[in-house]
């Protein structure tokens, strides 16, 4: 009788535990950018696999969006208080999400010892009501690069300096040679991004002003009529007049620009984030660069009397955040935590060739694109990394100033619709309005 009672009790316990397990099994939702970037998807799927293995019964479903379309949907869902995912792609495009309290504070939830300190510092900032927190895990980091077609440079007789940085006049010569040979100097498509034609002018301004003054300019603390700014922008206009951009600039998308550069080979250079590799280092039939394409990297041109020579943009890019009001908050934080692992960092580097905010062990990275890491290392030996990128300028600028910056410098100047003086006058006007 006693044994029978014990058996019933045991069965009850087992049933309770099992039913508790079922009751708490959750299917977490994860919205991600990078729909077209298979190498990144491999890493995301690995994080998902690790989470699911560590938390049996719980699953994660990843849905891919173009981030441009994802932001308004997320905003609407958070505002409504329902329909938002547990975990989602996050970057500096939407800094306001932090202030609203929509993001969970990750300060205590992540193995930060496996994250690069600069990555953690980037996302540690004041949140709702000024409360400090760490709001995202920095999966991707990127620098602004100027890639070039080595064969084309050879064909045009262009020799790259040992520092990989042309002087102001030399760079003008490069642009001129490309244009005269019937190529665009830069493969840039501004049809679906508001910052693609901003890479070169922002790099030139960095070279001239240095990062501190550039940040002041972006924040509206420095006049757009500063003689250094005027001089730099006039130089930039000279490049445009030489034929720096293709006439297809406005109807070319970012994806088109990749093909324009490496597949159609109609441009000498491609100024773009170091996430270039995410799209380019996939098989050619999936939009990647041809096998025999010879890719090179440059440093930014050295503007005369510049304070920022050798400085180069590097910042945290695609990250992962967790919804503060997720019904599965603890588990969602664990999904993010799955990234905080050196092995995942290594995998990211090996697969994508893009920098990461996760710590890595270079000795253990086995990658088919090792040649790229070596090339990257060679070019950037003397780079003084500054925490900013062309895209991040948006986070520094007030929205009204950004709107004018995009209209005049991403659209007006490269299409020769506006003169430098007009553009700077509009920017100065926007700065003074302070909106």
């Amino acid at each position: 009788m006693q044994a029978k009672k014990s058996g019933v009790l045991l069965l009850a316990c087992v049933l309770t535990v099992v039913s508790w397990g079922f009751a708490h099994a959750a299917d977490l939702t994860w919205w991600s950018h990078w729909a077209t970037q298979d190498t990144k998807k491999v890493v995301l799927n690995e994080a998902k696999r690790r989470f699911e293995a560590k938390h049996p019964g719980n699953t994660v479903t990843i849905t891919y969006y173009e981030k441009k379309n994802m932001w308004p949907i997320l905003q609407a869902a958070f505002t409504a208080g329902s329909g938002f995912p547990d975990v989602f792609y996050y970057d500096i495009d939407v800094p306001e999400f932090i202030q609203t309290g929509w993001l969970a504070d990750m300060t205590e939830a992540i193995r930060w010892e496996n994250i690069e300190p600069y990555g953690k510092a980037f996302w540690t900032r004041p949140g709702p009501a000024g409360k400090m927190g760490t709001w995202a895990i920095p999966v991707e980091a990127s620098s602004d690069e100027i890639y070039f077609n080595k064969k084309m440079f050879k064909q045009l007789g262009i020799t790259v300096p040992a520092s990989y940085a042309f002087s102001q006049d030399e760079f003008k010569g490069v642009v001129s040679k490309c244009a005269k040979a019937g190529y665009a100097a830069f493969a840039t498509g501004a049809a679906d991004r508001e910052w693609t034609a901003l890479y070169i002018p922002t790099a030139l301004l960095l070279s001239k002003l240095g990062v501190d003054d550039l940040k002041k300019l972006a924040r509206g603390e420095l006049s757009w009529k500063d003689p250094r700014v005027v001089e730099t922008m006039k130089y930039y206009r000279e490049l445009i007049d030489l034929g720096a951009y293709a006439k297809t600039l406005t109807s070319m998308t970012l994806a088109d620009a990749h093909r324009y550069f490496h597949t159609e080979q109609k441009a000498c250079m491609f100024p773009v984030g170091s996430w270039y590799t995410g799209r380019a280092f996939v098989p050619p039939d999936k939009g990647g660069q041809p096998k025999d394409f010879e890719l090179g990297l440059l440093n930014y041109p050295l503007i005369k009397d510049g304070k920022g020579h050798g400085q180069k943009f590097l910042s945290v890019a695609g990250s992962l955040a967790v919804a503060a009001k997720s019904p599965n908050l603890k588990l969602a934080l664990e999904v993010a935590n799955a990234f905080a692992d050196v092995e995942v960092g290594n995998m990211w580097m090996a697969q994508t060739g893009i920098q990461t905010g996760i710590k890595t062990d270079p000795a253990r990275i086995d990658s088919p694109i090792k040649w790229y890491f070596e090339e990257f290392g060679k070019v950037n030996t003397a780079s003084k990394w500054v925490e900013l990128t062309t895209q991040d300028v948006k986070a520094l600028m007030k929205p009204g100033l950004w709107e004018v910056w995009v209209a005049t410098v991403n659209q007006g100047l490269p299409n020769r619709l506006i003169g430098v003086d007009d553009a700077l006058a509009k920017l100065e006007d926007a700065r003074q309005k302070g909106k």
Partner: protein, 321 residues
């Protein structure tokens, strides 16, 4: 035998009220009314009335992110700023207005011509009717992508045709300049809606009584006289309605611009609708106050102009008939 009104017939002196009182009042089936109207009313209030009220409410408030996401009443401050200091709004308003005025002027006569062609029983009339109507069946994003290809500088059909006929010097990046971008977009909507306008117009032509035309012919009126003095005046109500619909539609134009130019270059194709979306979702403030004020202002303008236009056109119509 006396013939006259029978004295036995009582005088009818009962009032309407008496009659109503005498007839037992039928009970209204409130349950059925509620059942049938309820769902529609619920959705109408939830998705039309409530958002409109919230938009009006937002237009006089601002969201203070710095004060813990609280709404602050600001009265007509947003409206004042829009009207006095927002250059982009005025640029967008001018573009929207240009589109709304130009489109009906181009679309309606074109539709009329197409309708006459089909009415004239040209060969392959059915085929043409299908072909001309097909663009309307496509969504704006699809149409936008197709025309992005057409306008592509290198390999777009527009420039290929120009180059093929020896007019290569006119080939250009159609969406890269404010002077050509807006007309290029207007052409797209004309292409898209010509078929719809044509079908409506064709139906109206078929409804014209043949006797009028026969009588005119008998009186010696030639084809042009019949067209301009009989057909077109009889089509006037249809044309007025199409013009007003076209006007309102273009004043609200959003999707095509968003897909093709996002308002660029340099606000050259910015419409009020795209500007509202940018202010609402791309200005990093989450404050729907200012964009709501633009929306309210534009609603009032569209409403006023539509009423004015309708009355103006109807009055002219009344004078002519």
């Amino acid at each position: 035998m006396r013939i006259g009104p029978p004295e036995t017939i009582p005088k009818v002196t009962a009032t309407v009220g008496d009659v109503r009182a005498a007839v037992p009042r039928a009970r209204r089936p409130w349950g059925a009314i509620g059942l049938f109207l309820g769902p529609a009313l619920f959705f109408y209030f939830a998705f039309i009335i409530y958002p409109v009220l919230v938009t009006f409410y937002n237009s006089v408030h601002t969201l203070r992110m710095d004060l813990g996401m609280t709404y602050e009443f600001v009265g007509f401050q947003h409206f004042n700023e829009i009207l006095s200091a927002d250059d982009v709004f005025w640029r967008a308003a001018r573009n929207s207005m240009t589109w709304a005025v130009v489109a009906p002027i181009v679309d309606i006569p074109l539709a009329l011509v197409l309708a006459f062609i089909l009415h004239g029983k040209v060969p392959f009339a059915r085929f043409f009717r299908t072909v001309w109507f097909t663009p309307l069946l496509m969504s704006y994003p699809v149409v936008g992508v197709i025309w992005l290809w057409v306008y592509n500088y290198d390999w777009g059909m527009a420039n290929l045709v120009l180059r093929a006929v020896g007019l290569g010097e006119y080939a250009q990046a159609w969406l890269a300049s404010p002077t050509t971008a807006l007309p290029a977009l207007i052409l797209v909507t004309t292409w898209m809606f010509a078929g719809f306008n044509m079908v409506v117009m064709l139906a109206a032509i078929h409804a014209i009584p043949m006797e009028y035309l026969e009588a005119a012919r008998v009186d010696g009126a030639g084809p042009w006289h019949r067209l301009f003095h009989i057909v077109v005046p009889l089509l006037r109500p249809t044309m007025v309605n199409l013009a007003i619909l076209d006007f309102i539609g273009k004043m609200k134009q959003f999707a095509l611009v968003w897909v093709m130019t996002r308002g660029g270059p340099m606000w050259g194709t910015e419409t009020v609708a795209t500007y509202v979306i940018k202010r609402a979702f791309e200005w990093k403030t989450l404050d729907l106050g200012y964009p709501s004020a633009i929306a309210v202002l534009w609603f009032v303008i569209i409403f006023g102009l539509s009423v004015g236009l309708t009355r103006f056109l109807q009055r002219r119509e009344a004078l002519e008939f």
